[in-house]
């Protein structure tokens, strides 16, 4: 028994030893910085960026509230509330659009003959692997003032002057939906591909209509893939920085841009830190909700 305990302990030591380099890199370059952010969120902003080492809750306070300069009355910070609301709303809308386009696409690919499937998947993986910035530039080219849309519409005589789409919520939404679309297709595809179509046959055999079969048999089996896809789109959309920066400019900011601003022109590092932690918390809530949801469903492989 003693020898066995010893063997187990040495196995644990060996395993920790193997994992150590990865653990150290992540601890130093991802976890520790986050801890510093937590600390900074409770400090006083420095005069030219940075912080003064004095405890202050102003950073957290300013996430949601603002104090009137003259009479000190406290009210909800409308600017921050707008950006927070916009971030959540645009992320949800992005998820919805990618669901509407992505799920049928995944279904389409999964139901192709085996030989063709690889080709269609290939078409999805190329944008998936293409640089996010490059793809954002591609959408921008479509909708900017002298971009493709406006040229076509002008050429057809539908409009007299270019429509201003850039730097609106709509532009950010289009950009994000375009950029995150492949993230929805792939997990949904792998769920549908695993689906045993004999189950659908059994459903139809038992008098199910198309809709009934879809609702009662297919969707519950494919659900984990749809949830995974939604999370995979929603989480990066909520934290998006590059796409809203290009598509929204200074006008349609999202949380990520607001955070960056505090470390740039804003020069309010504690507020930036508190905002960053708020964003992280929102993402964690979504991830926890996701694990709850999938843990409740049927367990597979």
């Amino acid at each position: 028994m003693l020898a066995k305990d010893h063997a187990m302990r040495s196995d644990t030591r060996r395993r920790w030893g193997l994992a150590l380099p990865a653990v150290i890199i992540i601890t130093l370059f991802s976890i520790l910085p986050l801890v510093v952010v937590i600390a900074y969120s409770f400090l006083t902003p420095g005069d030219f960026g940075g912080v003064k080492w004095m405890l202050s809750f102003d950073g957290w306070f300013s996430v949601l509230f603002e104090r009137d300069i003259f009479d000190d009355t406290v009210s909800l910070s409308s600017a921050h509330m707008t950006i927070l609301g916009r971030s959540v709303a645009l992320s949800l809308a992005t998820t919805l659009i990618t669901l509407i386009l992505g799920v049928p696409t995944a279904w389409f690919i999964a139901t192709r003959p085996a030989g063709q499937r690889a080709f269609w998947l290939f078409l999805i993986t190329i944008p998936f692997w293409t640089n996010l910035l490059v793809r954002t530039i591609a959408v921008q080219e479509m909708i900017r003032a002298d971009g493709v849309f406006n040229r076509i519409l002008l050429g057809l005589g539908v409009i007299d002057a270019p429509i201003q789409i850039m730097f609106t919520n709509f532009a950010v939404l289009m950009g994000m939906a375009y950029v995150f679309l492949p993230l929805m297709v792939l997990p949904v595809y792998s769920a549908i591909e695993k689906f045993d179509f004999r189950l659908a046959e059994a459903g139809y055999d038992l008098y199910a209509s198309r809709f009934y079969c879809l609702r009662k048999v297919i969707l519950p089996m494919v659900r984990p893939g749809i949830i995974a896809g939604s999370i995979l789109v929603f989480v990066p959309a909520l934290g998006a920085y590059v796409t809203p920066r290009i598509m929204g400019g200074g006008k349609s900011m999202m949380l990520g841009n607001l955070i960056e601003m505090q470390f740039g022109q804003g020069r309010n590092w504690p507020l930036g830190a508190a905002l960053a932690l708020t964003l992280t918390a929102l993402v964690l809530v979504a991830l926890i909700w996701y694990t709850r949801l999938t843990a409740g469903g049927p367990r597979r492989g």
Binding site: V37, N131, L132, A138
Partner: protein, 267 residues
Amino acid sequence: MVDRAFDIRRLPGAATLAITCFVILYVPMIILVANSFNTGRVIGEWEGLSLRWYAAALQNEAFLNAAATSLILATMAAAVATVTATMAALATTRSRGFKGEGAIHLILNQPIMVPEIVLAIALLIILAQVKQITGYTGLGYLIIAHSAFCIPFAYMPIRARLEGMDLTLETAAADLYASRFYAFRKVTLPILAPGILAGFMLAFVISLDDVVISDFLKSPGQDTLPTYLLGELKRNLTSEIYAISSLLLLISVLIVAGSWLVTRKKI
């Protein structure tokens, strides 16, 4: 009218939406590439087909430097991430449970649970001071920072491959007089190779794709392709941007096609 045969796999409207989806995905990229061949300086004014902007890019010192930085950074970061992730995967798989297994899992997946922009400002805060204290401003920071957020991606396929591996193969190797090291080199590693390759490619692409963290952490003269592109974008839109974008797109296509061929051959 003839009744269409009842096809179980048909979902009314799916094909239409799917084709729409592919059109939406590809039209902007095709237009982007087409623009890069435009002779004119101003985007949208088509003045004829040429490789002028590719030539311009290839003579542009700043672009070439950025390309070199990107390549070095992605290769080094992917290498570090792959090696450490392989070790970590060996540590965390095929165990009957050990002390701290949960903690290691949580740590290994932590970088993907934090939004990129948050990680970027967090690293900015800490590294700004480290740079001041040590005086070192080299590419090392970016390499390790990239490794950190690439590890979870490299870890995934390697771990999956290890978990799918038949445990008796290593037992068999031990039975046939192989030392632990010999068994690892001759049995475990070759079987793991496709997973390691996939992990490396994933890490490479993830590193190459990064804009935010590189943009926040770079010291002067350390532009990567994406941060260079972002900087150019701030100034004005020229056809050269489209040429550079097209080159990045080409890299993605090559990587996807390459990994496609590699996985094909393994089956």
